[in-house]
Amino acid sequence: MIFNSLEFAIFLPLVFLIYWLLLGRMRKAQNTFLVFASYVFYGWWDWRFLFLIFASSLVDYLVGLCLEKAPDEKTRLRKTLLGISLVANLGMLGVFKYYNFFVESLADAVTLFGQQLDVATLSWVLPVGISFYTFQTLSYSIDVYRRKMQPVHDPVAFFAYVSFFPQLVAGPIERASHLVPQFMKPRVFSEAHATDGLRQILWGLFKKMVIADNCAVLVNQIFDSPESYPGSILALGAVLFAFQIYGDFSGYSDIAIGTARLFGFDIMRNFAYPYFSRDIAEFWRRWHISLSSWFKDYLYIPLGGSRGNKWEVYRNVTIIFLVSGFWHGANWTFIVWGALHALFFFRLLMTKRHRTHTLPIAEDRRLPTVRELSQMLITFSMVCVAWVFFRADSLSGALDYLWRVVTTAHTGWPTFVSYISHEAFEPLIMIIVLLMIEWVQRQKQHGLDLRMVNWAPARYAIYYGMIFIIYQYGAEQQDFIYFQF
């Protein structure tokens, strides 16, 4: 089931009413019902893969209990238990997501030496959300292993944490230490909380259906046949993809967070207006925050973080960006995407400016300075170049695309003008609307956070206006990009 579908529009109110009206004061019954609803939500896509979530939950639940009983001095036993969790979760990922990549890359490598290697590939569908919920359960086992949290004894609460439907298939990747305690305590309905949740859902739908889905149509056309377009339109294609993926993924996160709030849960923020970043380091503090912080806590810091010598820091940064790229998909394009971001980051590391922009942009001003504006534009341009690798089907495709941008950017300006005034006109107007709203709201949690608007008619006018825009300008429904990861 996907968020922008009619099925979900029926499912959500139904689950909400049962959860609060029938089970309002029964915490355990609420948790049991959430597990059931979450499994229905996931099984709607393909019920056969429910066993993977179940298996992942069961392994980590049992590992958690065993780790609690294993004393600290039995290091080997504790490591073995953690190993079981790592093997089970990363094994599932390896088989379903990376097996074909590895065997095909091996076959390609062997070909370089003049040999042929026949490899058997798997034609299985990648289970939706596998990268998200395996990372979520892994973080639990690691935290229990490190004694950073107590293991969960209530199996229902733990299964509800792993399968919680708002963030099951595309995050945010929640930490057990943050979400599990919320399942362990009674929930009280808060009208303000739920109303803001609905506002955030509406904002997420706008980003997904109006921005991402409209951009997707043009992006698919441009990236499918770059030879048909001049460089100026190809450059625009990269910009449109930047907004497509932002609208798509951050829209999903907004709907997820808003939905969770309807049920009385707070889940972590995943995006904080990343295209207003002044450098790549700031971009990564604002983009896919739950994954960045996951890698920071469970990979970067264990590797030594920024504590070692200069070369160790460079090595750690490289590893984290390459792994982050590889997490997105089993393709060299994602690895190069990660590598490019690492390169952009090195420039800041060398000058020790990677922590320069930790405060919000134009905090006490309405508009950015010219310097800030140019910093944002430069950062955005760098991000767009990297997005070309992320979107392209192959490395050669990405390089060809960028080569065409560089070599033919000066041609076809009448075509470009016609393109932006016809085909791309509506999406570009909507992108401008998005940026304007986000700029005004940049210090709020989301674009439709209207708690400061006290006059109810104004708030309602904004809601109806937003619904009208989604209805009128929403494009053909597209799958969420991050489902494939």
């Binding site: 009619l6 109303t195 809601y463 009128q472």
Partner: protein
């Protein structure tokens, strides 16, 4: 909690007011069926598809092609919709892909999206107006033929938008079924007996039943459009050379795929043709098209025939649906002309069924299959016969 639910309920009232009437209307007339359902019911249950608000037929036809795997297809705009399956040796081996194409650049997109098993032959209709250099923008993206069934929500959104647009134009009508229209998808099929048959051809229910009161009576509507010189009847300075090149590319593409192509330029009613002729220097894409296309068809050793004047088929103006759509009878004649000159096409045509259809068709405009043994028709009495269909 109660307060929150009441607020949500009150908030949603205006939304229901907008959605509910449209939803009820669209569901009543089955306007929101999926492509898969339409394709399957159209083929297996002979359900007539006549949607009034949206037009996904190019995708429905792609879905049908996937299962039907015809040997011969008619390809073009609405001006090839009159070809019928029963005049082919194996009726199931023919499928009419009329309206699958809306512009020249759609041809190659259609072919590249065509399911794995390609047809043996394509009867290609080349509308004159597609070659108007001043009207047709070949830089526009072709249609997408990717059969991706849109969700119910997407269909509902599109349907309700189209519904309210039609409502503002006064085009929303309701009523009861026409007698015998139990198998239908879409309002036009249900109320007007108008829509796509299982062979992909189109039955023009409303237009034919209301022939004398319609806007198109005696081609008045078409003549007015010519006088205005807009849209399909816009004047041109020349034939679009890029469009000609795209046809050449299409023919080459078909040769590579071992698909035989028979081309024709579709007919205008005699009265309409004469009106265009008065202004012939402004319609090079009508009067010089055959000369421009002939060399590229010759180069591929393919047949091209020009039937711009319906009288060249031995038909008269009674054998039309409107000013620029020949009738099914005239297309039987057209097919006979093509198959007389093209052996590959002839091998798929059932000549006796074709001749029988031409001689024994009850109506000049639409073949009424229910009366296959009707008496031979005389063109002079066609108008009164049309009325008697009622």
């Amino acid at each position: 909690m109660r307060r929150f639910l009441i607020k949500c309920g009150v908030f949603s009232i205006p939304l229901w007011v907008i959605f509910a009437p449209a939803l009820i209307h669209l569901e009543t007339y089955r306007e929101l069926e999926s492509i898969e359902v339409m394709a399957s019911q159209n083929q297996h249950n002979d359900v007539l598809i006549g949607l009034a608000y949206t037009d996904p037929m190019h995708l429905v036809k792609q879905a049908v092609l996937k299962n039907r795997q015809p040997e011969v297809i008619a390809l073009g705009t609405s001006r090839v919709l009159q070809f019928r399956d029963f005049v082919f040796s194996k009726p199931d081996s023919f499928y009419n892909c009329g309206r699958a194409i809306g512009k020249i650049q759609d041809l190659r997109a259609f072919l590249s999206a065509y399911p794995h098993k390609k047809p043996k032959a394509i009867i290609l209709g080349l509308d004159q107006d597609l070659f108007n250099v001043d009207e047709e923008d070949l830089s526009k993206e072709p249609r997408s033929y990717q059969i991706k069934d849109s969700s119910y929500g997407t269909r509902l959104t599109k349907g309700t938008k189209a519904f309210w647009e039609a409502w503002s134009d006064g085009d929303v009508v309701t009523g009861t079924n026409l007698p015998g229209t139990t198998n239908f998808i879409g309002r036009n099929a249900r109320l007007e007996n108008e829509g796509y048959r299982a062979d992909g051809s189109y039955i023009y229910g409303r237009l034919l039943r209301n022939a004398e009161t319609a806007d198109e009576y005696e081609f008045g509507g078409t003549i007015r459009r010519i006088n205005k010189g807009k849209g399909r009847f816009a004047t041109a300075t020349e034939i679009n050379p890029s469009a000609i090149q795209q046809i050449a590319d299409f023919l080459e593409n078909c040769r590579e795929l071992d698909i035989h192509v028979v081309g024709f330029i579709p007919p205008y009613a005699g009265k309409v043709y004469d009106r265009l002729k008065q202004d012939s220097e402004n319609y090079p894409h009508v009067f010089e098209l055959y000369e421009s296309l002939k060399p590229i068809f010759d180069a591929e050793d393919r047949l091209l025939m020009d039937f711009s004047d319906i009288r060249s088929l031995g038909s008269n103006d009674f054998e039309t649906t409107d000013g620029f759509h020949g009738s099914e009878v005239s297309y039987l004649k057209l097919l006979r002309e093509l198959s007389n000159r093209d052996k590959i096409l002839a091998s798929s045509v059932n000549v006796s069924a074709l001749n029988h259809g031409i001689a024994h068709t009850f109506s000049a405009r639409q073949i009424i299959e229910e009366r296959p043994e009707a008496q031979p028709r005389s063109p002079q009495s066609s108008t009164s016969r049309i009325q008697s269909i009622e």
